[in-house]
Each structure stands twice: as C-alpha cells, then as structure tokens.
Symmetry: C2
Subunit: 328 residues, 2 copies
C-alpha cells in the first residue's frame, strides 16, 4: 500500500513536496491543508483533497505522514509539537540555534502520542549536517568549512526590498573561489564568513529613486551587508523577471583532516550541491525522510528524530537486498 502523504501549507515548499511525491511511486498525496480558503487554492494533483488547516485532525487515520511546510520563525515551533500529537510528521525547521529546544518540545509530544517526528530535514540543516557529522566521525582531527551559494538568500532580498526607493530586489550569496581553494589546500586556514562569501544584488528602483543613495544604504546595512564585499546592479523589472526569477542555491561542505602516526597524511572530504530550485530540492529530501518516518512508525519507534538518527536505508524504496546488490 502506498504511503499516504499530507501537506500542511501550500507555498513553495508545499508545492515542492507535491512534485516530489509524484516522483516516488510508493507514495500518494492524500490532502493539502491550507490556512487560505480551500476553494482558492489550486493544487496540481487531481486525486488529492484541499482542506482547511483546522480540519486536519479528521484526517488522522487517512494520512501516514504529515509534512509541515511552514516557516521556522513562527509556524513550526508551534505546529510541529501540535501535529506530532496526531500524525507522524516531518519538518524543515532551520533555525540552527533553536534546534535543541525544538527537539525537546517535539520529542515530548511525539512520545506521548506514540508518533515519529523528524525535524530539521532539508540540506542545511539536513544533508550538509549529515556530511559534517560523517566527516567528523571519520577524521576526528581536522577542520570544517561550509560555503553557501551561488544562491538566492530570501532574507537578504527582503532586506533590500525594505529600503525606500526599492521596488524589487534579488540577492545572491556567492562563495569566494580563492577561499574555497584555501579550504581545499590542507593548510587549514581560519576563514570568516565574510572572507568566504560575497553578496551580489540585483535591484529594481522605484521611479525617481536615488540610485547612489540606495546603493549606499545596501552596502552599509549592518549584519546583512556591511561586513561583506557587496556588489549592486540596478536593472529593470523586465530583466529581473527574465534572468532572476529562479530560486537556485547550493554550497559546499568540506572537512580537511589528517591521519597517520605522526599525522603525516592529509585528506579532503567534500560534499557539494548545485540546485536549480532550493525549495524543490529541500522537498525531495523531506519526502525521502517521510518514507523513513513511516517505516520507523511501523516498527513501533516513537519520538523526535533527526537525520543523525535514521539508518540511510530507511530513506530508500528499495529493499536491503536490492541496495546491497546495486549500490554498495
């Protein structure tokens, strides 16, 4: 029988989950839950229902895993513990500093209900975390580097849009090639986030706005841009629509370490992602972990899990025999 998936929240991530479910023949989308009026939400899957978020509880026995596609700032801290009382759930909670607190809240709820809740799934946190962890376990003496990009930072794009005179904007975070090379070199340099990344901004101005002033405001904005080499390009709305409508992202996780009795040998482990669509890739990771959640729940496991806790094979639709014969 197919794994029945529910989606809570139908934004970029929810749509990504819908697409990913379609690519996995052992799954089916049962329902999408939304805070909007259901009749105004057009989903792509003809066989799935669109329901009000408040009615989710009535789907308790018709959904194997509910995927929570809300934001980390306000939605997930509330939603994940709440829905873990009723469903096996997966979320993509990505406020790194608050993960321990979120874990504790979700774990308590999921243990009480006897459900499985997988949190912080995606690529960072998610696949990048996994690669950091594996690489640290293999090379206990070494140094970690994470680079992000080339990719769109939603937070930085929003910050530019709040400047008076700005009509629209898109910001790309770009890894510095020479810093990447330094990290790969085995010399274990100390690199700050600023040294590792530059920021490139494409800005559409309101009519009559002062370009020099806007550029100055961007480049001196504390936290967001002041500490970075920032480039600002002024372009037309047409150009923005044509060349900057995507949501690409990616990055690199490296561990540079040593082995040998005298630590005489150097090793480099590198993992990288180049993603045309950040939300669709994140969704694809989430859907694989939904399969794992379903399997763990069937085995009688309960509580909160992260990517660190889940045997890799649980992500795959293939059996252990198939995996060993084809991929080991």
């Amino acid at each position: 029988m197919s794994i029945r998936i529910g989606i809570m929240g139908y934004g970029n991530l929810g749509r990504g989950v819908e697409c990913a479910v379609r690519q996995n023949p052992d799954m089916e989308l049962a329902a999408v839950f939304t805070r909007r009026a259901p009749e105004t939400v057009n989903i792509l899957t003809k066989t799935a229902a669109v329901c009000r978020a408040e009615d989710a509880a009535s789907w308790k026995d018709k959904i194997d895993v509910l995927i929570l596609c809300g934001g980390s700032a306000t939605d997930l801290p509330k939603q994940t513990p709440e829905y873990a009382k009723l469903f096996n759930v997966v979320d993509s909670f990505d406020t790194h500093a608050r993960i321990p607190e979120h874990f504790a809240n979700v774990d308590a709820a999921a243990r009480e209900s006897g459900k499985v809740a997988v949190i912080s799934v995606g690529w960072d946190p998610g696949m990048f975390s996994l690669n950091r962890m594996y690489a640290n376990a293999i090379l206990p003496e070494g140094k970690d580097y994470t680079f992000w990009g080339r990719g769109v930072s939603q937070g930085h794009s929003d910050a530019i849009r709040r400047i008076p005179g700005v009509k629209n904007a898109k910001q790309y975070t770009i890894p510095v090639e020479s810093a990447l090379e330094a990290a790969r070199s085995g010399k274990n340099p100390e690199l700050t986030t600023r040294e590792k990344h530059t920021r490139e901004c494409f800005v559409v101005l309101e009519e009559g706005a002062d370009a020099a002033k806007v550029e100055q405001e961007i480049k001196t904005m504390p936290n967001y841009f002041a500490d970075y080499d920032t480039t600002v390009h002024f372009i037309s709305q047409e150009e923005l629509d044509k060349n900057h409508s995507g949501i690409p992202h990616g990055g690199f996780v490296l561990r540079s370490g040593v082995t040998g009795w005298e630590k005489e040998h150097h090793h480099l482990i590198e993992y990288s992602l180049k993603l045309d669509s950040n939300p669709e890739f994140t969704s694809s990771v989430i859907v694989a972990y939904a399969r794992a959640a379903c399997r763990m729940a069937k085995e009688g496991q309960t509580g909160c899990k992260t990517v660190f806790d889940i045997p890799p094979a649980y992500l795959s639709a293939k059996s252990g025999e198939e995996l060993r014969a084809s991929m080991l």
Copy 2:
C-alpha cells in the same frame, strides 16, 4: 570505559587502524593478531599485545570489536564468518559482485553467536556507496556517475610488475576532466569507464630490458589497459622511490537529477575524496564503524550490517545532544 579494539592482520590496513584508534580517545588498541611470528612484528602502540592469529579466541572477552584487515580475495570470505562467531567484527570486503553472498554467510554466523558484524566498510564500498544511496533516495529520477582517482591502483601496478623486464611499477588511475565536466553539466551523458578514466604508468626496467616491447605489452594488456588511454613513463628506481612511494587515492560520486512537476529543475549532488593515504582513510572509516558496532551490540542488535543500516550518529563519540547542538 574505552572500546577495546583488536586488529587481525598487520599490513597497510592494520597499521592504518592502529593509527586511527590513537586519534579516537574513546578507544584503545588491545591486541594485534598476525599469521607471522609475533616476535617479528613491531607495532607502534606500546600498550597493545601482539599475538598469534590462532590465539584470537582466548581474547573473546577482552576485545569489544575485532577489525579484520585481510584481503577480499581469500582472507575475508573465510575470516569474517569465522570471527563473527566470537567477536563483533568490521571488515572492508570490497568485491562488489560478491557482497550479497558474503552478507548471507556473515549474517548467519553473527545471528547464531549474537554478535554484530559490519561488512564492506571503507570508501568504495563505504562512503561512496552511502552517497550513491542518499542521492538516489533524494533524486529518484537521475543518473549516477562514479570516477576514481587520481590514485594508485594496486592491481594494475601488480599487473605491470608481472611483465618480463619490469623491475618495479606504479599505476595511477586518473579521472578525465572533460568527462567529469560532462557529468556535472546536467545533460546526463552516457560515459563508459574508459571515457571517464586514463591510466598513467611509471615503470622501472630491469637492466637490458626492451622499453618499446614493455610499453607495447602494457598498452595492449586485455582488461587492465587495452581499453584505456594509457601513458607509460620509464623512470629510475630512485625516482620511483622519491616521487611515487605514496598510496594516494580518491574519486567523485555524482548524481545528476531533476525535480518539478514537468521535471524542469536540475540538481547536482557531488561527493569527492582526495586522500594522501588510501589505507589510512579506509581505516579511519572502519574505526568509526567499529564504534557503531560496539554500540549496536550493547543495544542487543545482532547479525550482519552494512553502512546502509547504521544510524549516522552511531559513528560519533558525541552524544545526540552534542551532535544536534554543534553539527545539525
């Protein structure tokens, strides 16, 4: 209490395990077992015993995990099931085609004894397999590419050494940069192993040997070289010792896949290794999985496991709390 490690077989891999154990403060090397006369084997760890392989059984209760460092051709098919009757074991069995058979034999032995046996640990099979598996689970529609090198192939080096007139030789397998770029391009090209790799040979001739004849024999050798672009360099023994005494290796695992309702978005997942010492890196992976074997055994698990079956966190000396706070 420390995890007590035993090493069966003290070649390059065994020495690598010894070095790796030293880098992990939660482990200690208890004993090295050898088929040679123990008094002729000098190990680096002053506190560990050197014992005859036949006496291993008497260490049954003094070792938590026995690491089997023999070869895949004849040693491990016999040793791993045999020692899984007495110990939790880890091996690096790397004959991909015979893994299902090896798994079945080891699983039967380990289930009967109530021990945990982890097989085929290293980087390929091992970390490369894991990355293939994760990437396939995340991007079910796509194409896999594995490139090996730049690195020393022991088998190919040995094959050259068997040619009359050859005194010594070292062979490097080298990924073709343009093929790697094609794999990364998202065009999903079909690439044969030949198109993906070239072979470079450094050969020391016996006095009076015919260089042209040796070169011809290398380049036309079936299976090993005939299907590849092969370069042969004749060098002195001194030059070989000076520049080619290491055992570097590495490679790349890529998955190029698509997402989106119309499969309109492309993604590239890439994992790569650059290793100064192939056996020391392999040993470092094995030692991390020895920690996992010990932990699974303590939980009461039994039977044969592969990297696919083991939760990532089990490889780390850190607790779940520490991992979530520092690496997620």
